[in-house]
Amino acid sequence: MGSSIFVQQLINGISLGGVYAVMAVGFGIVFNVLKFSNFSHGGVVAITAYAGYYLSRNLISDFWLALAATTLIGGLAGLLVERLVFRPIRIAGKPLTYFFVNSITVAMIVQQFFSAMWGAHYFSYPDFFERTAFNISGLIVSRTYLLMLVISAVVLIALTLFLRATKLGIAIRAASSDIYTPPLMGVNTDVVTGITFLIAGMLAGITGFFLGMTYTVTPFIGSMMIKGIIAAIIGGMGSLAGGVIAGILLGVVEALLIAEVGSSVTPIIIYLGIVLLLLVRPRGIAGKPYTVKA
């Protein structure tokens, strides 16, 4: 691999890694508060990928407006899923198992709904910009990738500020250690979980839009979420910062592996790597081990 191709792959990897990081955080924030693996996140990603396609092809030609609208749709979808699927069982105090089952069911409904509606069609986003790539001293940098990287970074920084500096954000962080501690900074539990899903949904919206732009939109686009989940595991379940680092790392490793050994062996190496990691250091990069109270 020549050095310029290497740098090229590195940049692509970091950009895709940024999207994985956003996905890992969207997955992780719900995991932190409700303590279950939320597969419905992939469903919301798929919904927004389709919504973003529809909006940008038919209604909004401006990239920023289309992205904003899709993010909003993602947030609303997240809220709706929480309201219809998770809130009833949370209020009834059902075990975590049922949260998980409902979440894969949502992912399944979404995927099969799109399969039934447009299973045979593959959709691709319009080109938002006339110039699709920059030439920076011999390196070709895709505009989409650059935007993905910058926007992911801005979003993650904004989210960090929100979680640290606002009352709601602090309540969400408090809920992450124990949602059933009564006075979550005076914010009620329903609001905290609602906001958590809203944020996760918005992050899914951004992810869905970018994935739609990068690949074609198919009913299976939601299963791209596996990348976010892998990042969450490597980063350490429960650590958002770990998820971000691991997401970028995963993007880079993946891009370099694809360039070096090809796209068919890459997933095998990555999955084996995860199994090994769990053997050696199950808590991931930054996660704390879970302790069970007796």
């Binding site: 049922y98 409902n102 099969q112 596996i226 892998i230 595991i233 062996v265 095998i268 999955y271 769990l278």
Partner: protein, 289 residues
């Protein structure tokens, strides 16, 4: 007639897959989102053993089960010690990995083109008997210490461990048993369809096996059995409604979990004891009248 026999064969095979997941997910509360990988592994082992290496059918089946269990051990050993989510997420990855592995080794496995020409050796009698045996096995396990231990682990791992249960060892046992049944079923599938391909089972198929159990009720083998038979025979009979069927199933799952968490069948089991109690009730009812 041939059509209905085919429907029955497929339904029975898939019901066997549901049962392979029942102990793991229903009783023990462990979710394998890559369970289809064991079915695929079993199918490919059996297919390759017969077409490429000319092994006899029975040996191919044994080999399929062994390979499935080895796969289970590789995935289970590191993850079953950890919080359940890790198991879930790694099995999900395992499903993808097996698929990638089959595509990568295209020279041997045929890759995306699939593997054809597998001898047609699994007909209705073999499939029927196999399914029946699995039903009996699972029912037997559920009513003895094995099943009790599964439920105890599902409800409270820490308490189970303090009451003398080796939680890790038991989880491994359950998972290996489940992998063995799945890969055996996979071998039967290969010998029944004669053609297999890497996308036979994606995560969705694995997820369906799990949610079907929740519709029937996690405490009822009978529920899993009936829901499974109903769902898969319906799907085979009305192929055109294939995808919408899954949307319906999904809506049903959520309705059941929200409004009837114990599942449609609750704790009910179809068993000799139940028949006796029903007959007994009738008799005493007559005496009263």
């Amino acid at each position: 007639m041939i059509f209905y026999a085919k429907v029955l064969e497929t339904t029975l095979l898939f019901t066997m897959f549901v049962l392979s997941v029942y102990m793991l997910s229903g009783l023990t509360g462990l979710f394998s989102l890559g369970h289809g990988a064991f079915i695929t592994l079993g199918a490919y082992t059996a297919g390759l053993a017969t077409t490429r290496f000319g092994l006899p059918i029975w040996l191919a089946m044994v080999l399929a089960v062994v390979v499935g269990m080895i796969g289970g051990l590789i995935i289970g050993a590191p993850t079953l010690k950890l919080r359940r989510d890790y198991f879930l997420l790694v099995t999900f990855g395992f499903g993808e990995m097996v698929r990638a592995l089959l595509l990568w080794t295209a020279q041997l496995t045929g890759g995306a083109m699939g593997l054809a020409g597998i001898p047609y050796a699994a007909e209705l009698p073999l499939i029927g008997v196999s399914t029946l045996v699995v039903v009996v096995f699972v029912a037997n396990l559920k009513k003895t210490a094995f099943g009790r231990t599964c439920i105890a682990i599902r409800d409270d791992e820490l308490a189970a461990q303090a009451m003398g249960v080796n939680v890790y060892a038991h989880k491994i046992k359950v998972f290996l048993l489940s992998a063995a049944i799945a890969s055996y079923g996979g071998a039967l599938l290969a010998f029944n369809m004669s053609f297999i391909e890497p996308n036979l089972f994606n995560w969705l198929e694995s997820a369906k096996l799990i949610v079907i159990i929740f519709v029937g009720g996690i405490n009822s083998v009978t529920g899993a059995l009936i829901t499974g038979i109903f769902y898969y025979s319906f799907g085979e009979l009305f192929r055109f409604a294939h995808v919408w069927r899954d949307v319906l199933l999904g809506v049903l799952v959520i309705l059941v979990i929200v409004f009837r968490t114990q599942g449609l069948f609750g704790n009910w089991e179809f068993s000799p004891a139940w028949i006796k109690s029903v007959l007994g009730r009738k008799r005493s009812g007559k005496q009263g009248a």
